[in-house]
Symmetry: D2
Subunit: 461 residues, 4 copies
């Protein structure tokens, strides 16, 4: 058998390519699906099956795109009414060369969630591997809050049953292949490990140590952010998105064209690193560093107004387009040709952000004129933070500006200074004049041995 | 100023990128126009002008594709009625940074042909360079036969006037940038030199040594092949072709799908080298080696039935798609996934072609059972050939099979064995059973010191 | 934690990169070690540890090369006296960020073989993974014959103890990371699965179902080929090989230079596919297709005389150099510049090999003038073959030419026609005039539904 | 014939590849010579000749490296005593396929300078092209000051004779191929045009309009900077440099290792753009943006102490190594693995540089506390500058710090802000605390329509 995991960075999405004797299946393909065709070609295989473990909500699925090219059939759970593909039910089996894939309905994260067991008949009739979608992750279980507070108990109970009655009994040796890894917002605290087994999860996954009641209570108490773009993804993945090949070209834009588009409310993202953004940037632009796009763009960009990219040398435009296309952003319009330097060489106005090291921050803590804003997730802040810091999650910052004083020196920090730069740019876009980014942030603060506080109260709210 | 030539291999098409102070013009862009956008980006320039020296007939022009992306204006000669762009006339000037481009009407190859002079005002008011389109090449002049035999005299006279009265007087120092290089069929004997000057052409271009009468007579006597795809290119370039971005995906195909498509009259090209093709190939497929596609595909492929590619490992599919798209083939359907090896591993039937070295050929010359077929151009054959060989140009072979005896051992040769392999594949597709390719052909024959004949009669016709 | 497998094709060698909190270890690095530095860079890690699970015998290890660049320490088992690095013993522990790597001595394949367990303290104190070197593979166990027939029993007993007393008790959930995958000659029948677990092996690995006596008997009966280059690898890996960066440049060679070097006994490998080789090749050259080099070059090439490569367009020269350097071939001299076509265009003499499909073969079976030579491994032949075929393994063909009649039409087959082409080239190099390669071989034969025989006697010997 | 120019950016060095009928010559190869081997391979050619137009002083020549690989012969002028290769004299001819290369001795830039005329006998006996080395450029002539003030007259007279008596008489049509383009310091004001002809130079090159006396006087008055690394290049190119393949590996370094090396006086270059450098950088590091390395590294780096690179993601390390190797820097030691972010995440101290737009600068002009330092070449400053600015060329800044007040706010500008960032970093390394970089500098200042002054006195000296 042939097996390959394809990971999409930032959203930590994992899709899988499985094949045997020249036939292959892809599970949860991403929208820019050329990679599966390359894998198929390298392994002399024909993709004949596409499975979706559930209607994914954090990215736009590539099933239809892939089907368009290779002509495979699409299968997904029967729990909701997709506009495309075929429904499968408990116990349905698919023969792929020597492999047998069998459907297990595992609702809980969503109603139509399925898991898929894999046996290799050339080896034995034992289950070798299970694709768990968003039900069971390394060190975590899927979030149960997507259908609203009122359905959390019901979904959590369903998830408990799916995991404890269907998945765990398959045997300690079974390899688990979930749809997400560490960093995804589809589970609270997914571990970094790319691989795990049922036995290892039984030994180490904390939430699996509870009984049913404890499990359900823990899931109900779980608080996770839900970015606004989820809604669009759910729609895309229910109806089937547009084909990428029908999207318009990305346009190289002159400084003049960028100015005009900005006047007409284009959304401009500066994808450079925080250091470069701090050194100088076009006023009224949002900074999300390149590799932060998959995880953060969905908090800030809408799907209507044209999106424009600012970078240094535009060598990453294709990657950026992939990142945003995976999130369903088909409104990417173009990029500043020549990069930021054409802006300042063309006598464009620009702003900068002051940067501080943690050594600059330390002696200023306690000053009344200073407001230290920590834009990490609330959970992270509770675990450890700099005493005196105020927490507003970066994704929610724009809606909570009333908590940030306009007249103070706002010093922004996060884990390392990257998300802080998103925060700093949002503040500048909203009129804050005196903004500083702590490069290194908590990582450097702890490395320097400076004191760390804990707390279970967000001292802003 | 900034200047770059972009050459498209096989058809020896030359387009040009000219820029100054951030503004650029592209002359005769090819259809896969990403390269111009890359050049613009590398040089911090905005493409604002697109010029067409004439309605090109040997490739599909990329003006509309490029305009779609960069938003430039398109300009061409006034002699025919294009469905897009703007007409220019003698003396029209365009300011591009410090450059001044001036239109000179130079009919002869076609009615609407223009040349463009380039001055750099930062340097002087002298003409620096001239873009001559298909009027004047290195060592050659443009063909005058596109409007039919009946108009050859008129067109030749027009060309004489264009060259002698407008171009040559510009000064010996002026650099000439033609639209084609060696290997193009838009001129009989274009030299290999990428660069030339008016002075060097005056000294060395044989046809420029004639007076008007001699020039016209020489042009009238000129015999050039005109591949059938020219007609489609002329239509494309008059109306404006479809956008590439709207073309369907290329599909990886299984052996089974290829068989089915062949049953429904798909056009299958094997793009491997003659050696590999000789070792084994799918019956009823045409061999055109990869880099021979631009020059030879247009002789054999129609624009309706799906085109399927056979290669070894499909690593060149993107290049092949570019080659064929430049010729307006928007009917490329897919490729045999896994390459030829999946065919024979899948127990597909295959054929082979015997290969001979020139040392194998020599002792067999004179045998009655042998028919030596030379598929080079008639002109090349006249200059030098192997005594006893018969000449039919490869592009015309299919229409002249009556001249090739079915019952003999047909030994095919050309310059080096590549075009001979096209010929061999055509013969096999038409039922010839005993076909041999002379790898090395004339090149090896001469290297070996074997005797070469000359002649001005094609001994077949 | 961060985990990545690096697989070297052909020899199916698997090395591993493990890291946590910025520190990393590499296990069994290959000699062209840039890939580990790239992984480290992408993951912001510093390679500080290099482990060798044993003195590998099928490739040249890259420990010293990697140490030269990153300055890490090298560790290996204490069972033999390496000329470099440090010895480790049972129970030695290494802290790598949150990971704890612990040494388990697991002799059997070799005396100094070690396995390494991995725990992630950030997760738990349970064993997560074990690196098993050449002791336990997916579906197989390491070969025990490297110290000669006389030591097979002793080594097999040691391996039994290593696996049953040390590895298997670690728990069903533990992920197994062996040093080889399917296709390696370090284990008889390694499965294709890249991943496995202790529990899955207990359920499915046939040799693990025996008791000690049965296990040892099975291992003693095991017959595996040992290519001649193993001896050089063992020496390299004991003493430490030369640094790659000190090797001379690969030279582009003219046809004339190749001829001269061949006259002085250079070793010439034609790396093209069997189809191309069949269509034409330089006389007296060995055909090993590009991706077959890692597994087969070691059977045929010596380490003294210069090696010269023949290909089509030389686009794979860097890959070929890597393949051969991994096998310790530091005598790669150069390649025919321009590829095989310059040979035939330069009027060089060439030979061809007839190709047959299985449909061509079938009606000829039984002819007395035909000798069907199957060059697969003896074990494969015993399992299934074409009735009437004679088996000599391709690696041993040169030493068994007395078994192949010179005066018959020798038709060579294997699995698919690739190894058969090696065989055909060896025959031609040794004066056989009438040689045919069955493209597709057993794969196509079975696909076509033709009859398959079995047998436990090699009908040649 | 086949002709290709290979340009090395930054130093604007032009080397040439010329070939015909399978044989090729390279003129003035750069040290990383793989590009010529690629060109040869693409064109089926064998490099048999290497010519050096003179002992180049601005880069390390690659003749010996290329010879090592392809085995060609090296030729150079007889005027000095090279430690390698062969001398040529006036009138020596070399047949390269149909090409004839003929040596013309053209001293003036150096004694041993030669030019080479190219005829293509397949076309005619007329001179087609001339390789002029550093004697005649587009719009310029070679500098005559390398042998010191005392020899300027003699060298200028020699150059006059070389150009007027030997080169210009060859004919207006002849294409000129010089060894440098715009941006090189081997000529004062080389034009941007990549191509020129003798006729066009006669019409437009200002210094060619003088008579001999005027020419010599103009050359004597010419003032050009001579970076300190020229001395090393002259030595390298006389003796022949070390082979690149013998250089040690570049090492990925941890933050800790970088600190240790800095304590031992390593030379650290931050190759990021000025914007990023301004946002934050390691104290005591020199900023030269990546593409500025070829032109500026030679002013600042010595050849003894290890060189360390700081970048963002180290994706350009190979390019940087090429840039520095061309300048003979064989002491490149390594790079900060993970880039600048590991520094601040690791709680390293850092500095920033304030950035101003020209709109920030304007209202501050005239303030007494401000010192506007323009680091462009003196000639550029004389042509146009901001009134009130002080000029010290960036290459000479370190030796003229006494002219820059320590107690003022030093605002640095140049053309666009890139060289100003070099200047700002030098100031910071020397204890200046209050340093600002004007991003956009003169380019933006003029674009904004702000007033420009002229002057022929450097108001510092």
């Amino acid at each position: 058998m042939m097996f390959e995991m394809v990971k999409s960075n930032g959203i930590a999405h994992k899709s899988y390519f499985l094949g045997s004797n020249g036939i292959a299946a892809v599970i949860d393909p991403r929208r820019d699906c050329d990679i599966y065709i390359d894998i198929a070609e390298r392994n002399d295989m024909k993709i004949e099956y596409i499975f979706e473990t559930h209607r994914n909500e954090d990215f736009t699925i590539g099933s239809i795109e892939l089907r368009e090219i290779v002509g495979a059939d699409i299968f997904h759970g029967a729990g909701i009414d997709f506009d495309y593909g075929n429904s499968v039910n408990e116990g349905d089996k698919f023969q792929i060369g020597s492999l047998v894939l069998e459907i297990i309905e595992t609702p809980g994260h969503t109603d139509e969630s399925i898991s898929i067991t894999v046996k290799d008949r050339d080896v034995s009739d034992d289950v070798y591997m299970i694709l768990t979608g968003d039900s069971l992750f390394a060190g975590e279980t899927g979030r149960c809050d997507l259908y609203g507070e009122e359905n959390k108990r019901k979904m959590s109970e369903a998830l408990y049953n799916s995991i404890f009655k269907k998945i765990l009994p398959l045997g300690d040796n079974v390899i688990i292949c979930p749809a997400h890894g560490s960093g995804s917002i589809c589970g609270a605290e997914i571990r970094e490990q790319e691989l795990t087994t049922i036995g290892y999860e039984k030994k180490t996954n904390k939430i699996l140590k509870y009984d049913k009641k404890g499990f359900v209570n823990a899931k109900i108490k779980e608080k996770l952010y839900k970015p606004p773009y989820f809604q669009k993804m759910e729609k895309n993945n229910l109806e089937g998105p547009d084909l990428i090949c029908k999207l318009p070209y990305l346009k190289p834009l002159s400084m003049h064209e960028v100015k005009e588009l900005m006047a007409r409310e284009a959304q401009v993202i500066d994808v450079r690193d925080p250091t470069a953004f701090s050194g100088g940037h076009i006023p009224n632009t949002l900074n999300i560093w390149n590799d932060g796009l998959p995880a953060y763009a969905g908090w800030f960009l809408n799907y209507e107004q044209p999106v424009i990219i600012i970078d240094d040398d535009n060598s990453r435009i294709d990657e950026i387009k992939r990142y945003l296309t995976r999130l369903g952003y088909d409104n990417i319009y173009g990029y500043l040709s020549g990069g930021f330097k054409v802006w300042f060489e063309g006598s464009g106005d620009f702003e900068s952000v002051q940067t501080w090291s943690v050594h600059d921050l330390l002696p200023n803590m306690g000053k009344k004129s200073l407001f230290l804003l920590d834009v990490r997730k609330e959970n992270d802040w509770i675990k450890e933070h700099i005493d005196g810091s105020h927490n507003v999650y970066v994704g929610l910052l724009k809606d909570n500006l009333d908590k940030i004083p306009q007249d103070k020196h706002v010093v922004v920090s996060c884990d390392t200074g990257y998300k802080a730069s998103i925060g700093a740019s949002i503040l500048q876009m909203n009129g804050y004049k005196n903004v500083t980014n702590v490069l290194g942030s908590m990582a450097a603060w702890k490395k320097a041995g400076y004191p760390v506080a804990m707390g279970n109260l967000n001292n802003i709210s």
